[in-house]
């Protein structure tokens, strides 16, 4: 069990930040998609820049090992185009409607929001539906 503690702690920081930054706010997401504030764009851009710089540093480290001793590797996403665009559009429509993407769903559910739990239930059904229809979909 002890090896899971770091994940729990980092997950807690993530959930705390999502609520404190209001990234889990339906209002903030509408504001973003209407280009009415820099707030959400600032979060996204500064997150990407921070991750970009730190992963570039990790790539240049000679002996890069994780805490548990295994070498750090950054795997490539499988090549493709159709599934990424089509899946992205479907997800984006859902995100624009309810203003919650998967991370904030979990954070908001933690605040006791029944609505967030309903979204989560829907998301699980959507995920299962994809699994069932996968072979009929273009990828």
């Amino acid at each position: 069990m002890k090896r899971y503690i770091p994940y729990l702690l980092v997950g807690m920081v993530f959930g705390f930040v999502l609520i404190k930054s209001e990234a889990a706010s339906w209002y903030r997401i509408q504001e973003m998609f209407h280009f009415q504030s820099f707030h959400m764009f600032g979060i996204m851009f500064s997150a990407i820049i921070t991750a970009l710089i730190s992963t570039q540093i990790i790539k240049r480290l000679g002996d890069r090992k994780a805490m548990d001793g295994q070498p750090i590797e950054i795997p490539d996403k499988p090549a493709g185009r159709v599934s990424y665009i089509a899946g992205g559009v479907v997800f984006g429509v859902g995100w624009g409607l309810i203003g919650l993407c998967p991370g904030p769903v979990f954070a908001l559910a933690g605040t006791g929001s029944i609505g967030a739990i309903v979204v989560l239930a829907g998301a699980l059904h959507g995920t299962w539906l994809y699994g069932a229809l996968k072979r009929y979909l273009p990828h």
Binding site: I49, G80, V93, L97, L124, T127
Partner: protein, 184 residues
């Protein structure tokens, strides 16, 4: 300790979220991303007589990921309940005017509007159906905002750029056309 209760500006929140990527690599060579957990939860709950291959794998190898989102929920509880911000969301003037025009009476009073999230058959149908789109889309695209927009773009992956363009296009369509139509 005011900072624990107040909302955090983007230049604090963004870098902290970005640091999730190297932190997860350092902890156990993990790729930062949330939506895979939806798949794991399906794998856990799928009855043995239902044989969708996509959910037939050893989910126990991914417990670390489920522990992460349990943490996300706990973090949400701490930030949204224990250290709750008593003030409304400080939306831009333009957004407040748009929301008033859409018929909201107290824009930003809480993180999410009561008009869409309080308990009613209509709201829960809307939330569930939109949730289906989120779950279906993220798995079809192989990731969500965390896995593609943050981890994918920051590690310079072309597929993630396609996904992010799709996500933003879908979000614009929903926010500009579907939401106003639904509220009218």
């Amino acid at each position: 300790m005011d900072w624990l209760y107040q909302p955090w500006p983007w230049y604090v929140a963004g870098p902290l979220i970005g640091l999730m990527v190297p932190t997860m690599l350092f902890i156990g060579n993990r790729s930062f991303g949330i939506s895979n957990n939806l798949r794991h939860l399906c794998a856990i709950t799928q009855p043995p007589n239902v044989e969708v291959d996509f959910f037939r794998y050893n989910w126990k190898e991914h417990i670390w990921s489920l522990v992460f989102v349990i943490g996300t929920g706990l973090g949400g509880f701490l930030a949204g309940v224990v250290f709750a911000n008593p003030e409304p969301v400080k939306l831009s003037i333009a957004t407040q005017e748009m929301l008033l025009a859409w018929g909201f009476t107290q824009p930003g009073a809480y993180l999410v509007p009561d008009e869409l999230f309080h308990t009613s058959v209509r709201n829960f149908t809307f939330l569930f159906a939109s949730g289906v789109l989120v779950g279906f889309g993220t798995r079809y695209a192989g990731g969500c905002t965390s896995g593609h927009a943050i981890t994918g773009l920051s590690t310079l992956q072309l597929p993630s750029l396609y996904a992010v363009l799709g996500i933003f296009a879908g979000g614009l369509f929903a926010s500009w056309f579907l939401v106003p139509w639904m509220l009218s």
